[in-house]
Subunit: 879 residues, 2 copies
Amino acid sequence: MTQYVYAFADADGSDRDRFGGKGAGLAEMTRIGLRVPPGFIVTTEACRHTIREGTVPDDLWDQVDDALARLEKETDRTFGGGPAPLLVSVRSGAKFSMPGMMDTVLNLGLNDDLVAVAAEWADDPHFAWDVYRRFLQMYGHVVLDVPSTPFETVLAELRRRRGVPDDSRLTADDLAEAARRFHDIIRETTGEDVPEDPRTQLREAITAVFDSWNNDRARRYRKLNGIPDDLGTAANVQMMVFGDLGEDSGTGVCFTRNPSTGEPVPFGDYLPNAQGEDVVAGIRNTLTLDDLARLHPELHTELLSVMQTLERHYRDMCDIEFTIERGTLWILQTRVGKRTAAAAVRIAVDMAAEGLIEPEEAVMRVEPATLEQLERPRIDDQTAPEPLVVGVGASPGAAQGEAIFDADRAEAAAAEGRRVILVRPETTPDDIGGMAAAEGILTSQGGKTSHAAVVARGMGKPAVTGAAEMKVHLEAKVARVGRVTIAEGDPITIDGTTGRVFLGLLPLVEPTETPELEKLLSWADGFRTMGVRANADLPEDAASARRAGAEGIGLARTEHMFLGERLQTVQDIILAEDDDRRRAGLEELRAAQVDDFEGLLEAMDGLPVIVRLLDPPLHEFLPSRLEIERRMVELAKAGKSTTELEQLERAVAKWAEDNPMLGLRGVRLGLMVHDLYRIQVEAAMEAVIRRLDAGGDPRLEIMIPLVATAEELRRMKTMVDEVVALASERAGRDLHVPVGTMIELPRAALTAAEIAEVAEFFSFGTNDLTQMTFGLSRDDAEGLFLRDYLERGILRFDPFNTIDVAGVGRLVRIAVEEGRRANPDLQVGVCGEHGGDPDSIRFFQEVGIDYVSCSPPRVHVARLAAAQTALAARSVTSD
Amino acid sequence: MTQYVYAFADADGSDRDRFGGKGAGLAEMTRIGLRVPPGFIVTTEACRHTIREGTVPDDLWDQVDDALARLEKETDRTFGGGPAPLLVSVRSGAKFSMPGMMDTVLNLGLNDDLVAVAAEWADDPHFAWDVYRRFLQMYGHVVLDVPSTPFETVLAELRRRRGVPDDSRLTADDLAEAARRFHDIIRETTGEDVPEDPRTQLREAITAVFDSWNNDRARRYRKLNGIPDDLGTAANVQMMVFGDLGEDSGTGVCFTRNPSTGEPVPFGDYLPNAQGEDVVAGIRNTLTLDDLARLHPELHTELLSVMQTLERHYRDMCDIEFTIERGTLWILQTRVGKRTAAAAVRIAVDMAAEGLIEPEEAVMRVEPATLEQLERPRIDDQTAPEPLVVGVGASPGAAQGEAIFDADRAEAAAAEGRRVILVRPETTPDDIGGMAAAEGILTSQGGKTSHAAVVARGMGKPAVTGAAEMKVHLEAKVARVGRVTIAEGDPITIDGTTGRVFLGLLPLVEPTETPELEKLLSWADGFRTMGVRANADLPEDAASARRAGAEGIGLARTEHMFLGERLQTVQDIILAEDDDRRRAGLEELRAAQVDDFEGLLEAMDGLPVIVRLLDPPLHEFLPSRLEIERRMVELAKAGKSTTELEQLERAVAKWAEDNPMLGLRGVRLGLMVHDLYRIQVEAAMEAVIRRLDAGGDPRLEIMIPLVATAEELRRMKTMVDEVVALASERAGRDLHVPVGTMIELPRAALTAAEIAEVAEFFSFGTNDLTQMTFGLSRDDAEGLFLRDYLERGILRFDPFNTIDVAGVGRLVRIAVEEGRRANPDLQVGVCGEHGGDPDSIRFFQEVGIDYVSCSPPRVHVARLAAAQTALAARSVTSD
C-alpha cells in the first residue's frame, strides 16, 4: 500500500518532489521545533495518480481520515464537531513555486449548524460568521467554480447598508445574512449546495487543488517558466489559526533581509486582527515590523528569533508568513525569498562575509542575466503607469527624451543639448549618426537582431524594437498607437529591458556600482576558466568594457568606419567608373581609419583587439532601390525630372541582391573589391606603429568574416601577412599579427580542420551560424512567424537567445574539436549574441571554448555565468 | 644513374606516367610489330627535373647522344651528316592528351650546308629546301619565340610572285629564298641565329618542349580539364618520314570507326604529297580513304589491317596518324579516338556485341553527361557561325524562334502557331505561361538555378541564362548586344547546352533514339543498385520521364498549381481581409488541384509519386514592391492617381522580406497559413480516390519542404494523417500515404535522427542545402562573384553542379547514417540538381542513397551514371 498522506512531523523536509515546496517547508519547520500549526500533506504522487487515472487512489480518503484523527488528537479539537471545532486550510504546493496559480481553500470545517458551536468556542459570533462566510465564498469559487463578483456584490451592499468601509466592521448578523445569501448564489449558479459534511468538503477541496494543477493559468505559467507539466502538486491540510480574533491577533509576511536592497535588516508587513488574505487584498494599510515591536515587543522578539533560525537553517534570505492568534505566534509558511538583482548580489556577498555560505555558493546564488539590469537606469516598477505599447526589449535599460523621427534631426537636436529618442520604422546604416546621438532607439519593426537592436546593444543604448502596434508615419512626423498620437518632440520613455514604451518622462532609478557587486565578480573571476571579452567598435565602448572587466575585444566591427561623413567617399568608391577616382577614395578611407584603430588599441592597451574586416554587402552603403523609386514617385508627382535618379538606380541595381544575407559580403568583398581589405589592414598596422611609438602595447589581431573555404582565408592571410611584413620593416621589429576567421557558415564548421591549418583563431559568429543552420533570417522571421512558433510550442526556445545545442551547437562542437586537432594552438572564441547568454555559456564551457565576447553591458553577466559553469563543471567532476 | 632516355623498342607501352600517352603508344605499336619510324623517348621525369631544377639532368645529353647513335645505326642514316641525313621530329606528349597546347619541332637535323646533302639523298632539291624552310619557321617560332606572321608574309609574297595558290607549287629557288629570309627574320627579331649544329638544335628543341608544359595555354587547359600541374611531359624524338616526296607519298589521319556516328566503318582523311601539318592547316582539300583505296589499293589494305590490329589491341576505336613515304606506310601515332556522344554509345554497344568488350565495359565507356545531348535537337557545330553572345547553358538543347520580350505576347504568338523564344532580363512565376508556350528561354540575368533555369529544365526546354552582355529594354521591346539590336519578332537560335545565342535560324540536328542507346541503358539498369526517378510537375513531363525509364517521381512541385489563371485566386487569399472570402478562395484552389494530381498519378500509375507541398514565399505570388513603385512612377508621370497602388503596396509590404530565401516559406507556410497545406493534401487524396475508382494503382507520397525541426514535421504529419484517414473512410479501405521531408537545411541534416522518427522518407534538396551550407544564394552569387571565384581558383568546382563532399556532402552523410539508425525503414533520395550529375551520383552511391531524382532529360544520364558507380564500387570491393 502506498502512503499518500504524511503528518508534517513525519514528512522529509528535503523531499520537495514528493511534498512540494510548501509541504517540505512546513515539515522542516516542524522538525526544527518552530511553532507551526499541525497538519498533514497529501503527496504529489496522489495528485499525479488522480490526474492520470481520473480518480483519487483507492484508499486515499481512508488515509486522510486517519491523518485527521491524529490531528484531532494532537490539537484536542474535533473536525465537524464541538466543543472545539477543528478548522483547516487546504493549500496547493508544488515543487517549484507557482504563486497564485493554483487553488487554496481556507476556513474549512464548518456548516450551518457548526457556526454556533464555533461562536461559542471562540466566544465571538462575529468571528464565527466571518469565518463561515469566508469559507462559503472561497469554496464556492474554488471548488464549485462560481464567479467572485456576486459574492463581492453582496458584501458591498451590506457595507453600504451598514455605512462601513470594510468587512471587519460588519456585524455578526450582517455576516450571517451574507452566509445565507452566499448559499443562494451558489445554489442558483450551480444547482448544488455546499456539502454539509466537512469531510466531504475536505475531499472536494483536495480534489480541487489537484485539478488546479492543470488549469490554464498554471499551464501557461509553467510553460513560461520552464516547469515540467508532469510534476503535480501536493495538498497541504493544516489546522487554521486565526489572526482575526481581536486586537491581540493578527497576520503578516516578513523577509529576513530587505528583498529590494539586500540590506541585512528584517523587513515585513503586519496587519492586526485580520486573516492573511486581507493583507493580499490590500484593503487596509499594513503596519511595519517596527509597529509590531511597539504593539507586542515579546512577539516581535520571538519573530526575530524565528527569522534568524530559518535564515541560518536555510542559509538564505527567507520569506515567512505568520499569524498571531490571541498572543501566540504561529509560523504558517516559509520559502527562500524572491529578491531584486541588487538584493541578490548584496545578500550573497554579505552571507559569504558572515560565513553563512562559501564564496562559491555566493557566486552560484545570483542569476547572471539579472546583472544587466544593474548597468542601466531603470524604470521604478512601483510607480510605473500602464505602457502605451510593448515591443521587443532589444537593448536593456530605460531612456527618455523627445521622440524624433529622423536621424539627422535627432543629431541636430542632440547637438543643442536636447535628449532624444530616435523613433523609426526600422534603422539602416544611414541612421548611425542619429542613433549615436540619441538616448535610446524605438522601432516598430525588427527584433532582437535587427539593425537597431544590434547597433544599440553595441553602443550600450536602450532600445525597443518591433513595437508593431505603433505605426510610424515619417512624412507626417507622427507615430500612432491606436488613437494615441506621438508627435515629433513629444516626451517618451522606453524600457529596453522589458520592451515597454510610455508617454511622458517617467522617474528613473539610476544604477550604482556597489562594492558587493565588485566583490562577487572578483570571486567569479577566481573561479571561471573561460575568458571574457567584449564586442566593441568604438574607443569609448572599449574603455567601458575594460572597466567592466573585459579581457580584450573579441569583435571590433569596422562598418562604422565607412559611415557618417565617410559614406559619400564609400559611395564614390562603389560607383566609381574610373580607377583613379576609386584609388583616391580608397586612400582617403585608409587614412581616415588609422585614428579609429589607434583609439581601440589604446583603450585596450596590452589586451588582444580582434578587428573584423568589413562584412556587410556593399549595397548597404547605397540607397535602396525601393527608396530611389519612392523618391522618383515624389519627383514625378511634382512634375520634376527623374533622369538623375534613374541613373543612380541603374548603378545601384548592379549591386542589388535578392538575398543580401547570402550574397556579396564578408570575405567575398575582400576578394572581389580590390584593395578594400588591404587598406583596412594598412590602417590598422599604421595605428599599431603609432601606438608602439607612443610606448604602448598594441595587440592587434585580424579576423576575416564569412569564410566558407580554407582557400578564401588563405588568400586573405597572404595579403595580411604582406602588409604586416611591410609594417614590420618600417617599424624595424617583427610585428606578429594573428589572422583568424569567423566561423559563421555551416561549411566553415564542417571543414574546420582545413580552415584551422590556415587560421590562428576561430571566433564563432553564432547569430549568422544560427540563421544559416536554420535557414531563416531572424529579422524576417520575427515579423512573420518566429513569435508564433514560440507561442505555439513549435520551437521550445528562441535559438537566437539560447544556442540550439542539437543543430548549431553540434556544428560548434565539430569545429572546436576538429579545428583543435588540426591546430593545437588554435584559440577559439564566441562573438555572437550567445556570448552573453548564460545558458549558452554553459554549453560553450562544455565544448571548451577559450573565451566569450559580448556587448559591454553584458560583460558582468558573462563573467558571472562563466564562473557558474566552471563551478558546476567542478562539482560534476568531483561527484 | 637514372635512365631518362628509352628507345621505343625498350619502353613499356603501358607506362603513360613515364612516357606520356604518345610515347607509350609508339612503344606499344613498335612492340606489336607495326611499322613505326624508330626513335626514343625522353621521359616525363626528365621534364619534371628540368622544371624543378631549372636545368636538365646532368647526363641527359649523354643519354640522348647514345640514343641518337643507336638510331643512326638502326636507320642507317647520319644525324648532322651525309650521305643520308637523319631528320627527326621532337614532339611533346603528356600522360593526358592536351591537343595543340604544347610544342613540337619537325624536320630537325639540317643546316645551310646539309640542305644540299639532303637534296642529293632525296634526289629532290625542292623537297630539301621545303623541309629546311619548314624547320626554320617552326624552330624560330617554337624555340626562339618569333611570331608566325613575318614568316607567313614571306611565303605569301613568294606565292604571289610565282602566281601559285599554295606553297607546294613554289620552286626550289623560291624555297631557298624563303629559308634565307627566314634566317634574316630570326636574326632581326631575336639577335640570334638558328644553331648550325643539329645536336644543339635537338637539345634546344627538347628543352623547349619541356618548357612548354608551363606555358599559359597549357596551364589553362589543365585547369579546365582537371589535369594535375606536376606531371610534366615527355619529349618524343622520332625519325622523320616524309609524305611530301612526290605523288607516291602522302599523309593522313584515320579512325577505326566513324567518330561522329559510331558506324563500324573506317573513316579518315588523306592528303597526297604533303606533310601532316598541311592537313591541319586545311589549305588543300583532303581526300577520303576510298580515294586512297583507288590510288594505292595495297597500301589501303595494309592500313585497314593496321587499323584492325590497333582496334583489337586497344579494344577501342583508335585515331591513327600515318605517312606514306614513297610507297611505304608508316604509322606515326595512335590514341583512343575522340567521339561524339552518339558515336560513343554506338561504338560501346557494337564492340560488346562483337565480343571485343564486356557489357560492363561498354557501360563504363560512355560519359553519362553526354547522353543529355542526345535528347535534344542540337546545333550543327560544323556549320555554326560565331555566336552573338554567350551566357550560361542553363537547360540543354537548341531552340529557335522569334524573340518575344513579354510572357503574354509569347503566349499569344505561340497560340497563332508561331515559334517563340521568350527573352527577359529574368523570369518570375508570372511568366510561367509564356515560358510554357515558348520553344526556349533567354535571360540576361541569373544562372543555373535561376527561376528561368530551374523552370526550363523542369519543362525540358532549352534555356540560356545570364547572357550579361545582352541588355534587355522591355519598354522599347529590344535587346542590345554591343551595337547589335534584336527587335521583337527577330529570329534567333539559342543553344542551352553551351550557352550560345545566335542571330537567325540555324539548321538544327534532330535527336534520334537509337537501339544502341536502349541496349546500353538496359545493361546499365542491370548493373545499377540505385533507383532513378524524375522531378516532374506536369503529367506530360511525368509521362516523358517514364518513357525515359524513370521509376517514379521523386519531386512533384506544386507551385505551378497556384499560377496562371489561378494566380488571382491566390492573391485574393493572401490579401483577403475577411475569412469567408479566404475560405472560398481556398476551396476553389482545392477543387482546381484535383485534376493536376490525378494527371500525375495516372502518368506514373503503379510507381511512387512524391508530391511536395507549396514551398515558395507568398510574396512570389504578389507583384514586387519595386514593380509597384515603378508602376506608380509611370502613373505619376502621366498625372494619374496612385492611391490604389499605394493600398496594394501596403498589403504587399506585409509579406515583403529582406531575405526571402530565409523567410516564410516551406513548412513555415504550412504552419502559418491556415489550411493551405490541408487543401493540397485533400486535393491529392481526392485524386487518389478517383484513380482507385478508375482501377488505377496510385502511389502518392507527401513531402514537407524546409523542415528545420522534428516538431514542424510532426504537426504536418498529424494533419496529413487526418486527411488520409478521412479519405480512407470515404474509400472504404486503408490508404497509406507515406509522409516524408526534404532535407535541405543544415539543421535538418544535423538532427536527422530526431526527424527520422517522424519521417518515412528523406529527400535531399541539395540546391538549398548547398546554399545554406555555403551561406550563398546561387542567383546572387553567380552575377556578383561565383564565376570569378571559379576562374581564380578560389573554388575548384561549382558546388551547384557537383556536390561539395567536404561540407554539404558531410551533412548528407550524417543525415543518411543517423536517419537510418533511428529509422531502419527510412527511404532516402536526392531531388536537387545534383541528382542528375554523374560526379555527385558517385558520392550518393557511396553514402547509400536509395534513389536519385532528376529532371526528365537527365534520366538517361542518371541511369548510366548510377550503373557506372555501382560497377566502380563492385570493382573496388572485388579488388
